[in-house]
């Protein structure tokens, strides 16, 4: 029984297994010297063979990515990797996804819908080994954040769309088309636009919160604040809180923002740095204040969980985008699916459920018809003032992105 349990443990604490084996090994082998010689000899040669080959720059370019053989006609399916709670679900039957099911019915293309993305960086390290080798990742569509689109494009990892199968591409809103990371939107189509803002539990926080700086500094919130573990989100909040602009900042200002976060963390203000799972602690009342993605808290439908629509300093605007990775097996089917979601009605139906900002012309009008209460929510249909105060995150070079991310993670301890 000990055996089975310790095996079970070892699945979660991988190094446990190594260390405990190391102990036994050292007694049986190293101490007796039976294998020591072998390790030394084999080690020297094996060590040098352990390097990992990097990105072999293949034919194809940043503009096109690399197409593999398209099996769309023979295999009527498409594999769609998305984030959890990012699709409409039938309230009566959790297994039914109305918009997706309608697509399957219309086209006969089966959709393998996987809610497996929880963190942009996590996901990148998951698909990167295949992309580096130049092989199919197994996914036809994946949803990644705006700044990651730039990273995928730098390494030539995503394919350009064939607009023949995407006629609705022309329905994208002008401001969506003029995207700094992907001008013309030929490689990425927004699944959702949203804001990063602040939300609090009014049962636990008596004085309403109206600015970002409060969550970092207000003494009564000590140990109750949850921030995001993604660098862009939290650093943007820290920049805004200090009156700086996340769209244009210098190295020194970045350091200043890091220092601001570090001070709050060291003072015990921050309870946790969380990923996409921040809502469970927030709902349970364990965190009283959290950074929040605009649609999430509205989706919970609890009156005591309040989202600050427009903090004094402003908001961070972002988009999560559908991209087609290199060598996707069902590119054409993927484009058909994206085209389907670019219809105003479908977009409105999706928006109505996931509560994020649509990016298609006519979607807002369709939403007003479908659900006028949702259309009146400023985080779904933002006001002029919010649009004016919303900031994007500065485009970073890969070297900067890696450097900033690792320095940020140094603080968060995630």
């Amino acid at each position: 029984m000990t055996g089975s349990s310790s095996f079970e443990l070892s699945r979660y604490t991988n190094r446990t297994r190594l260390t405990s084996t190391a102990r036994r090994m050292s007694r049986r082998s190293l101490l007796r010297g039976a294998m020591a010689g072998g390790i030394a000899v084999a080690g020297a040669s094996a060590l040098s063979a352990c390097g990992v080959q990097g990105h072999v720059v293949p034919p194809g370019s940043k503009d096109n990515g690399q197409a593999g053989h398209d099996y769309s006609d023979t295999e009527k399916k498409v594999v769609f990797a998305n984030w959890p709670a990012y699709i409409d679900v039938d309230p009566k039957n959790q297994n039914k996804r109305p918009t997706l099911d309608a697509f399957v019915k219309q086209t006969g293309i089966q959709v393998e819908y996987l809610e497996i993305i929880n963190d942009n960086n996590d996901w990148y390290t998951k698909v990167d080994p295949s992309l580096v080798k130049g092989i199919d990742t197994g996914y036809d569509i994946m949803v990644v954040s705006d700044y990651m689109v730039a990273k995928y494009r730098t390494y030539d990892y995503i394919q350009a769309f064939d607009l023949e199968y995407l006629p609705n591409h022309s329905k994208l809103l002008p401001n969506v088309l003029h995207d700094p990371t992907d001008p013309g939107r030929l490689h990425s189509i927004p699944w959702a636009y949203g804001y990063t803002t602040v939300a609090y539990n009014s049962n636990l926080v008596k004085t309403p919160i109206s600015s970002i700086a409060e969550i970092f500094t207000r003494p009564d919130l000590k140990g109750k604040v949850s921030l995001f573990s993604e660098m862009e989100d939290t650093v943007a909040m820290a920049l805004l809180a200090q009156g700086l602009d996340p769209e244009h900042f210098t190295d020194a200002q970045f350091n200043q923002a890091l220092e601001y976060i570090r001070r709050a963390k060291d003072a015990g203000q921050i309870r946790s740095f969380t990923g996409n799972d921040y809502l469970s602690d927030f709902q349970q009342g364990n965190t009283a204040v959290t950074m929040a993605y605009s649609g999430d808290v509205a989706q919970l439908g609890k009156p005591n969980l309040v989202t600050v629509d427009l903090p004094k300093e402003g908001l961070l605007a972002w988009s999560d985008n559908c991209v087609i990775p290199n060598f996707a097996r069902h590119k054409k089917n993927a484009e058909k699916l994206l085209n389907y979601y670019l219809q105003p009605d479908v977009s409105a139906a999706l928006t109505d459920y996931i509560d994020y900002i649509p990016s298609v012309q006519g979607a807002v009008a369709a939403l007003q018809q479908l659900d006028s209460t949702a259309a009146a929510v400023p985080l779904i249909v933002p006001t002029k003032e919010m649009q004016a105060k919303a900031r994007g995150f500065m485009a970073l070079s890969i070297a900067q992105l890696n450097d900033y991310t690792s320095r940020f993670q140094q603080i968060t301890g995630q």
Binding site: M1, T2, S6, T16, T19, G51, R271, N402, Q409, Q414
Partner: protein, 307 residues
């Protein structure tokens, strides 16, 4: 010396009776084990040692450059995490031992016909996933839960907060919560070996102690404790080794100021494209460190032959 020089004679006498054929059976029997160790121990160890002195990133590849500075990074940048891992696992081991000994003692000597059932009760919770059991602690220690309310109304949390064990008026997201989770998760691993060695002790030894006017405590200290030392050593090792590498408890029950080595390694491996080398260096440091601690412990305890 004389015995050594004389010894070969009887062997030579017996030698002709044995067939001079080489016996391969032990080797064949060892083969699966050796293969297993080679593939799942030796190769991964070599890979991580190699990775720990490489430089590069995912997209440009990693090259073996004998970049020993990775070790410097691993130790200087993540000193706090090493400290946390060590302190939490040591406290866990001590608390586990203190809790487990009476339990094991009771089951072994007073359990009677209920022994098996009682031991089953100790083990059965481990059939649930480690992860689920840890998440359950989030509910147990929730800010609005009974436990925290009780502790608050007794003003106990003020004391623990002053000591730095908890933060504010809650228990979750604090060092205390991490240690609680670890103690709960590893307790069966301390109880089992303790029980096995206590159960082997002849109860008549206790009677003999009493007959010789030994107080119950003295009997325990002079007879039971020394005889149960193998269980104590085994139990503490089985607790300490997994505990020092555990990061699930710190991840789920801790806060940003309670991070342990495992969390940083996970992060370097899973979320940073250039994290392999330093992550591997951290693993190697951790492995060697644990090995040194454990070997010293076994050596000091003088029970090498018991393991």
């Amino acid at each position: 010396m004389t015995t050594l020089t004389e010894a070969p004679a009887p062997v030579e006498e017996r030698a002709p009776e044995r067939k001079p054929r080489r016996n391969w059976t032990p080797w064949v029997l060892l083969l699966p084990g050796l293969l297993w160790l080679t593939v799942f121990f030796l190769v991964p160890i070599l890979t991580s040692v190699s990775a720990s002195v490489q430089t590069g990133n995912y997209d440009d590849g990693f090259k073996l450059t004998w970049h020993w500075a990775n070790y410097q990074d691993a130790i200087t940048k993540f000193g706090t995490q090493y400290y946390h891992s060590l302190v939490y696992s040591l406290i866990t081991t001590v608390v586990c031992l203190a809790l487990a000994y009476p339990v094991a003692y009771f089951i072994a000597f007073k359990g009677g016909k209920w022994k098996t059932l009682l031991m089953a009760l100790v083990i059965v919770p481990s059939f649930t996933s480690f992860l689920i059991r840890t998440i359950a602690w989030k509910t147990i220690l929730a800010d609005n839960g009974t436990v925290v309310h009780t502790l608050n109304s007794l003003h106990l949390l003020k004391i623990t907060t002053a000591l730095g064990w908890t933060v504010g008026n809650h228990v979750l997201a604090s060092p205390a919560a991490v240690v609680c989770g670890m103690v709960y998760n590893f307790l069966p691993f301390t109880i089992l070996p303790l029980y096995t060695s206590l159960e082997k002790i002849d109860p008549r030894l206790h009677e003999a102690g009493a007959d010789l006017y030994c107080s119950p405590f003295k009997t325990w200290r002079r007879i039971t404790l020394p005889l149960s030392m193998p269980g104590v050593i085994g139990g503490t090792l089985l607790t300490f080794i997994p505990a020092v590498g555990d990061y699930i408890n710190a991840q789920l029950l801790g806060n940003p100021n309670t991070t342990v080595v495992g969390q940083r390694i996970e992060d370097l491996f899973l979320r940073q494209t250039n994290g392999y080398p330093v992550g591997s260096a951290m693993s190697v440091v951790m492995m060697v460190g644990t090995l040194v601690i454990v070997m010293t412990y076994i050596w000091r305890a003088g029970t090498e032959d018991l393991l």
